[in-house]
């Protein structure tokens, strides 16, 4: 069994299958029709031969009837009597024959006396001895007579007047090449007239004098050959009558078959090409959007959301493609919402909700980066721990809401006095941290001092009450060494020690942690 996994493969297979079936069907049809054609040609040959027989016999009867019409005319009889028995001139007889029977569709008409001597008529070249062996029988005698131009079908009838034989009326119809062409036009074939099995009249000059074997019924010429059927002439005339043969050209037949084969072949080629072309167009229309959809789904699977343009739908695949575009667009919108939510969550995770400053968790995340940068740049890291002095007293005196407002306004103050490379954290309660990069101690100290003074000079308005706050700051500046945890702990520890010292020594001041070879630097309001 074929394993056609894709529709494309199936489609190609179906197209090839249809093309094959078409070729086989037309091929079979050709061979079948060819046989029918040959058989029908054979039947047609016989039928046409019979029709020709009927036609020729009808011509005989027609000629016989014309002979009777002339013979029975009273004036013809009287005039023949006057000419033959009284011996008058033949002019009036000729004139009468012409005027009275000139319309008859015959080629020759002759009136003779009893001895066969012509006494009237026209085209007397066909005089034969037919009157001699006709005798005195009253009927019409028919006979084919050989002439220089072919044959004449002659009808001879005795003419009587007052029961006395006067002579004969002889009328004839020519069978020459012109007549043969007429017969050939009727029969759509060839007509040969033979005498003693030898062709004596034909429209094909090369056929003249060729012999025909009545048993074989095939006539072979230089350029052609003919299948023959003898026209039986069921009512033949004369003992030496010619034989009529009807022939169909073998070349014509073969050409007909070849024409048909060419037609069949052309039909097969055009049919198969058409099917393939249509299949190709269909595949293209089918395959391209499927591939695009697959690439889109692959991208979506990889987390990408490619742009899929919508198109005017012409078919189901276009509609499906548009649905995909809608789906991708929807995903993109959902992703945007998720990103925003995620960003918000992320912000919430690293931010203190009251003050909007970074929380301790973010310190743990950002510190390694700062440490790495400091190590990379060969600079120091500075930490300022800030604690609001007596914050518990504010809460106790003004309430927690007032304490919260103090924290918020202090945070705002921190933000307004910080620099761009300062990281601001709320470590918890009323304790804050500033971490900065690449500062010398003096710079850090100045910044802390600036904050301390601003805090002291900026009371917080809570209702109608101004709450004045002071802060204590502990500073540590050092080159980061060791692991990030060690470095952070050490920085915070040293800063915290400095803050402790500031608290111990009266608050509202800035103390810088000095390393073992230094003494803590103190600043106050």
């Amino acid at each position: 069994m074929l394993h056609l996994k894709t529709f494309r493969a199936r489609l190609i297979f179906y197209i090839l299958l249809i093309s094959t079936f078409l070729s086989i069907a037309l091929g079979t049809s050709f061979w079948h029709v060819r046989d029918i054609l040959l058989e029908e040609s054979n039947n047609q040959l016989s039928r046409t031969a019979n029709l020709l027989d009927t036609y020729l016999v009808a011509e005989q009867r027609e000629l016989e009837r014309y002979a009777n019409i002339v013979r029975d005319d009273l004036r013809i009889q009287e005039y023949m009597y006057i000419v033959t028995e009284i011996g008058a001139e033949r002019g009036p007889l000729d004139k009468l024959l012409s005027e009275q029977f000139g319309w008859l569709p015959i080629d020759n008409n002759i009136l003779t006396d009893k001895s066969g001597k012509i006494i009237g008529g026209h085209k007397t070249s066909v005089i034969t001895d037919i009157t001699q062996h006709h005798g005195n029988t009253p009927g019409v005698k028919l006979e084919y007579v050989n002439t220089n131009n072919g044959f004449e079908l002659v009808a001879c009838a005795p003419v009587y007047y007052l029961e006395q034989l006067l002579g004969y009326i002889v009328i004839s119809r020519s069978y020459d090449t012109v007549k043969l062409r007429e017969l050939e036009n009727i029969s759509k074939g060839r007509v040969f007239i033979t005498l003693n099995n030898t062709i004596s009249l034909s429209t094909i000059p090369s056929a003249i004098n060729k012999s025909i074997d009545p048993q074989k019924l095939v006539l072979s010429l230089l350029n052609d050959s003919f299948f023959l059927r003898q026209v039986n002439l069921s009512d033949n005339a004369g003992q030496q009558s010619p034989a009529f043969y009807f022939g169909v050209s073998e070349v014509y037949l073969l050409e007909t078959i070849h024409d048909f084969s060419r037609l069949t072949f052309a039909t097969v080629v055009i049919g198969v090409l058409s099917i393939l072309l249509l299949g190709m167009f269909f595949l293209r229309d089918f395959d391209r959007p499927i591939k695009e959809l697959l690439s889109v789904t692959d991208a979506v699977a990889q987390g990408k959301l490619p742009t899929v343009n919508k198109i005017v739908p012409r078919n189901e695949i276009d509609a499906l493609s548009n649905r995909f575009a809608d789906m991708v667009q929807s995903l993109r919108e959902q992703q945007t919402l998720i990103s925003k939510a995620h960003s918000k969550l992320e912000t919430l995770a690293i931010t203190d909700t009251l003050t909007n400053l970074y929380n301790r968790r973010h310190l743990l995340e950002v510190f390694p980066k700062l440490q790495a940068q400091a190590q990379r740049d060969g600079t120091s890291l500075a930490a300022i721990i800030i604690d609001i002095d007596h914050f518990k007293d504010i809460n106790d005196e003004h309430g927690h809401l007032a304490g919260d407002q103090c924290l918020m306004e202090f945070s705002a103050l921190l933000r307004s006095h910080s620099r761009t490379n300062d990281y601001l954290f709320r470590l918890g309660g009323e304790e804050f941290l500033i971490v900065t990069l690449g500062e010398n101690v003096e710079g850090v100290y100045a910044a802390a001092e600036k904050i301390r003074k601003a805090t002291e000079q900026t009371p917080v308005q809570y209702g109608k009450t101004d709450i004045t706050m002071t802060i204590s700051c502990g500073i540590c500046v050092e080159h980061p060494t060791g692991t990030k945890e060690e470095s952070l702990n050490r920085l915070l520890h040293h800063s915290d020690n400095a803050l402790y010292l500031a608290k111990q020594t009266g608050r509202n001041k800035v103390i810088v942690h000095l390393h073992e070879d230094e003494t803590d630097q103190q600043g106050t309001a």
Binding site: I82, A88, L162
Partner: protein, 287 residues
């Protein structure tokens, strides 16, 4: 021969049809129908306006074409179809014998005498023949025109020997058909006679003067002993060949029909309108 008989039968059939159809289109008792020999028809055709004016009737006459009338027999046939509702009469060109008149219950009204023309081809140089020469030619004793001063041509005798059992007519040339030469052709009408004689330069034939040969005819009249077939020569007894034209009716026919016949006879005596046809009143012949 069978064809000749067939033609005659066809003519009878045509006449019978005409006579049968005519009364259906006529007014009752007012239409009188006559048919028969052409020459007698000529008399009635000429007198028709006068005759119709003389009585309360109209005349329907058949006989213009001798082919149609077939001569005297058609006239007798017409009389035989007489009835009170269909009053018919006939024309004959021969004198009927008494026995036939009695057997067929006829009443004969002689009308006129008609000279018989002796015709030949117009190119024939012979213009006159004696009565004996004519009889010898028709009997076959003379067979070549050179014997009577003409060209060396065999004489073609054309006859129309109708009414064979009745006296007069062609019997004034020769008394019986057997007296005529066997080498002749016998035609069925005056029209055919004129055509045959006109076709053959050596032909000779006969026809009544009432038959107008027409301008295209190639025939001419042979004088007999120097006399033309005219009324004058006939009445003077100089021209020997003639025939008697009559009208016939059923002996028991209506007085109206008999009066018509008498009026026709009377008009024939007083009218001089027949010079073209050379017809003489019946009683004008000098014995």
């Amino acid at each position: 021969m069978h064809l000749q008989h067939r033609m005659i039968r066809l003519r009878w059939l045509a006449l019978a049809l005409l006579l049968t159809v005519t009364p259906a289109t006529a007014q009752q008792g007012e239409l009188l129908t006559g048919a028969g020999a052409h020459s007698s028809w000529v008399v009635f055709d000429k007198l028709k306006p006068v005759l119709e004016k003389s009585g309360d009737y109209s005349l329907k006459l058949f006989g213009k074409q001798s082919m149609l009338g077939v001569g005297c027999n058609a006239g007798i046939k017409s009389v035989m179809q007489y009835s009170a509702k269909q009053e018919t009469f006939g024309f004959v060109c021969c004198k009927l014998d008494d026995e036939e008149v009695r057997k067929k219950n006829l009443q004969v009204f002689p009308l006129a005498l008609e000279p018989l023309m002796i015709l030949s081809h117009e190119e024939n140089p012979v213009n006159n023949l004696s009565i004996n020469q004519i009889r010898d030619i028709f009997s076959g004793k003379i067979t070549n025109w050179k014997d009577v001063g003409g060209n060396d041509q065999a004489i073609v005798v054309v006859t129309r020997l109708h009414c064979k059992k009745r006296p007069g007519h062609w019997k004034r040339i020769l008394p019986s058909p057997d007296s005529f030469t066997g080498k002749r052709i016998n035609v069925q009408s005056a029209d055919e006679m004129v055509k045959r004689v006109g076709d053959f330069k050596a032909a000779i034939g006969h026809a009544g003067t009432a038959w107008l040969r027409g301008d295209n005819s190639r025939t001419k009249i042979i004088t007999v002993d120097g006399y033309m077939p005219t009324v004058k020569n006939l009445q003077a007894g100089s021209y020997p060949f003639y025939r008697e034209l009559s009208a016939i009716i059923d002996k028991n026919a209506s007085d109206k029909l008999k009066n018509l016949m008498r009026t026709a006879q009377q008009e024939m005596l007083t009218t001089r309108a027949f010079t073209e046809h050379q017809l003489a009143p019946h009683f004008s012949l000098k014995k």
